[in-house]
């Protein structure tokens, strides 16, 4: 057992004078841990003796709060349904149009196109993997589902970015906005995503739109954070130099801060996309189609084979999207290097 040995002073060149040895009680390491724990245990036992082991809270406000939220959402649904119907309509049209295009393109062209992008942005290995994996998805009979999922993801990501960039800019420019936004973003990201599904159904009905709504709420925080970060980390020297020539705030944002934040924003897009992919199966719970629906159906019918195939197809999409967007972000980053080689 380690008996507390005095810390060795040798080899320490004139450090601050060490604290004088304390007088009175001298606790070693074990005593310092054991004594407080013992104290707590005693306190718990005493408290349990006084109040009993299943002490009630004096009031229960959980019910009323939940009721209030339920009522509010119901009221919103009833009174503002025209707004949500319009949103749902626009989103749905966009989605169906995109899906139709993806399915209309003959699969060899689609596979070739994705392969080409992967080759240009990443490497020929990635191109080869992408093409083989996509062809495998097709042979597994999952091509239409995969295209539907892709369309869902694209719509969700586009909406996320449209929301994230303005909010990110606001958060970068104002510490107040940033401080207000931060807990919301933390909450959105950590809240179990199932929680969003119920209000999503109430506002948008069953189908792809509530799934997109839930996906956006879950996936938008990193895009906001990284947009804000990208703008904030533009070196003050560059900002100052730009300002010294009489830039307006608008010029500074559009010509200096946003262009220089692009790698960071791209990293945000990458993360948002990955998180959206993670929501594919959850979205199927409220009626979203695509690979998520396939996986969910397989689960309900106890078909582990089909579930596995669907899951693997989602993984394939995720890998391709991740590698390509990461390479893109990296390329932009390289272009922004300020130091000479």
């Amino acid at each position: 057992m380690a008996v507390a040995t005095p810390p060795t002073q040798a080899g320490r060149p004139q450090g601050p004078p060490s604290a004088p040895p304390r007088k009175g009680f001298q606790l070693n390491r074990w005593q310092r841990v054991a004594l407080p724990i013992g104290g707590f245990v005693v306190a718990i036992l005493v408290a349990a003796g006084i109040w009993g082991s299943e002490m009630e809270f004096p009031a229960d406000v959980g019910g009323p709060i939940a009721d209030w939220v339920n009522d509010t959402i119901r009221t919103i649904t009833r009174n503002f349904s025209f707004i949500f119907d319009t949103i749902a309509d626009v989103v749905l049209r966009f989605l169906l149009w995109l899906e139709a295009i993806f399915l209309w393109i003959p699969w060899p062209v689609m596979v070739g196109g994705i392969g080409y992008v992967a080759w240009r942005m990443v490497s020929w290995r990635m191109a080869l993997f992408s093409m083989l994996a996509l062809v495998a998805v097709g042979f597994a009979g999952l091509w239409p589902s995969a295209m539907e999922t892709t369309a869902l993801i694209v719509v969700a990501v586009v909406i996320s970015i449209a929301v994230a960039i303005p909010l990110g800019i606001l958060a970068a420019r104002s510490n107040t906005v940033d401080a207000i936004l931060r807990p919301f973003l933390d909450g959105m990201q950590t809240m179990p995503s199932f929680v969003y599904l119920v209000p999503a159904i109430m506002l948008f009905g069953i189908g792809n739109v509530p799934a997109i709504f839930a996906t956006v709420i879950y996936a938008v925080p990193p895009a906001i954070r990284l947009t804000s970060l990208g703008i904030r980390q533009v070196t003050p020297q560059v900002v100052e130099a730009a300002q010294s020539f009489g830039t307006t705030r608008r010029q500074l944002l559009l010509k200096v801060q946003l262009p220089m934040a692009i790698p960071s924003i791209m990293a945000g897009v990458n993360q948002t996309t990955m998180m959206a992919l993670a929501m594919v199966v959850v979205g199927a719970l409220v009626g979203a189609g695509g690979l998520g629906e396939d996986v969910l159906r397989a689960l309900q019918r106890f078909q582990p084979g089909e579930a596995l195939l669907g899951g693997l197809a989602i993984v394939v999409l995720a890998i391709i999207v991740d590698r390509v967007t990461q390479a893109w972000a990296k390329e932009r980053q390289e272009a922004l290097r300020t130091d000479a080689h």
Partner: protein, 406 residues
């Protein structure tokens, strides 16, 4: 050289910048008597700029010199309000720039001033050309026009052929040329150079200093030049302000600083600089004892020399332009020959020393000439004389004080 004859461009009065709780309106009264450390301890505030006042004439290179933390960078930023001063006044061409509205301030920065930064501050995502055109772009000039102008300034700083590269593929010196081109592009009257060459290698730094001097000869801008290097200050500056703890401790020409440092702090800097390269002949020269006009008779010349007890005399034109010198012996011969005017035997044996030459430069041609040397100003007028031995002695003194201080 002559800050007084040119019109006033910039005037700074009692400028303060205080960070922390003491940054109130009565800052001058509260802080005037207190040292930096006292303010820090008692008021939990930092004085970055303490009651700075100076004037800058049009076409002058005004150098602000000090160690890091002396407030020189704060000062130059206050001039275009990249930092808002706590108190004081800044007048540029008679206008109170601190009273400007946001729009006026932007206009002022766009047209009146151009700034160069120690760490370049170039936009990495833009080409060299678009960086140089930055000031014009924010002014809203059409693309073709601003690019043509940017090409011009890039050529001026020696960067033709690099316009389509990104700053990252240029060396530090070249990046700073882009910075200089960017500042010159909108043809501002005032250049603010914040340690422009401090991040460069010593050899490159020297090149850039020379280039700046050549450009300045041509452009005659008003330049505020920040540096921590007195040698650089002396090379580029007409006048130098030395700062310490946010306050200006001395303002003067390079020679005044070198020969009369205001205190030990300034003197410390001057020890690192070779005086013989700084002190000019104008500082050593005396009024010319005797001179005759070229159409005076030899008789006049002989009498003038005998009256002054000299064995030679300078000869000038009617306007006072130096043409040569004649010795007593030669004047007497001329007198014997019966020449009408002294003009004939004029002996142009010595090219006159320029008043603004340094001792070292003057000695380079004066080395084998004995006696008194004529000193002329920029337009060739005889303004004084100096003994060669005085030059040698001054150079020697300078070297020995340097040696003693090492």
């Amino acid at each position: 050289m002559n800050g007084q004859s040119e019109p006033l461009r910039m005037s700074v009065r009692n400028l303060w910048k205080v960070y922390g709780p003491a940054a109130g309106l009565d800052v001058a009264e509260r802080l005037a008597g207190k040292s930096k450390a006292e303010v820090q301890d008692e008021l939990k505030s930092v004085v970055a700029l303490r009651d700075a006042s100076f004037d800058v004439s049009s076409g002058e290179t005004f150098v602000v010199m000090g160690l890091s933390g002396s407030g020189k960078s704060t000062l130059v930023r206050c001039l275009i309000q990249l930092i808002e001063p706590t108190m004081g006044q800044i007048f540029v061409d008679g206008e109170d720039v601190l009273a400007y509205t946001e729009e006026e301030r932007i206009e002022f920065r766009r047209h009146k001033t151009g700034m160069v930064f120690q760490y370049f501050g170039l936009l990495p995502h833009r080409t060299v050309l678009d960086n140089a055109a930055w000031g014009l772009e924010v002014q809203g000039l059409p693309e073709s026009e601003r690019r043509a102008r940017a090409m011009e300034v890039l050529e001026m700083v020696g960067l033709s052929g690099w316009e389509n590269y990104r700053p990252s593929s240029l060396s530090g010196g070249m990046q700073q040329r882009v910075g200089l081109a960017r500042a010159l592009a909108s043809d501002p009257e005032i250049l603010l150079l914040d340690e422009p060459f401090s991040a460069l290698d010593p050899l490159i730094r020297r090149d850039m200093q020379n280039e700046l001097l050549v450009l300045q000869e041509r452009m005659r801008k008003t330049i505020i030049f920040i540096t921590h290097d007195l040698a650089e200050a002396i090379r580029v500056g007409n006048r130098i302000a030395i700062m310490r703890d946010g306050a200006i401790v001395q303002i003067g020409t390079p020679e005044q600083i070198m020969s009369n440092p205001a205190d030990e702090y300034v003197a410390d800097f001057t020890r690192d600089v070779r005086r013989a390269t700084v002190i000019t002949v104008g500082y050593l020269m005396e009024h010319p004892t005797t001179r005759v006009r070229e159409d005076d008779s030899p008789d006049d010349a002989v009498r003038a020399m005998e009256a002054a007890g000299a064995d030679a005399v300078f000869i000038c034109t009617g306007e006072g332009r130096y043409v040569g010198e004649v010795t007593l012996e030669e004047a007497k011969q001329s007198l014997r020959r019966g020449d009408g005017a002294i003009r004939a035997p004029v002996d142009r044996r010595f090219a006159p020393i320029q008043r603004q030459q340094s001792i070292e430069e003057a000695l380079a041609n004066a080395w084998d000439h004995h006696g008194r040397l004529p000193v002329v100003d920029e337009s060739g007028l005889l303004v004084g004389e100096v003994e060669r031995d005085a030059l040698i002695q001054a150079a020697f003194e300078a070297e020995s004080t340097e040696a003693a201080s090492v």
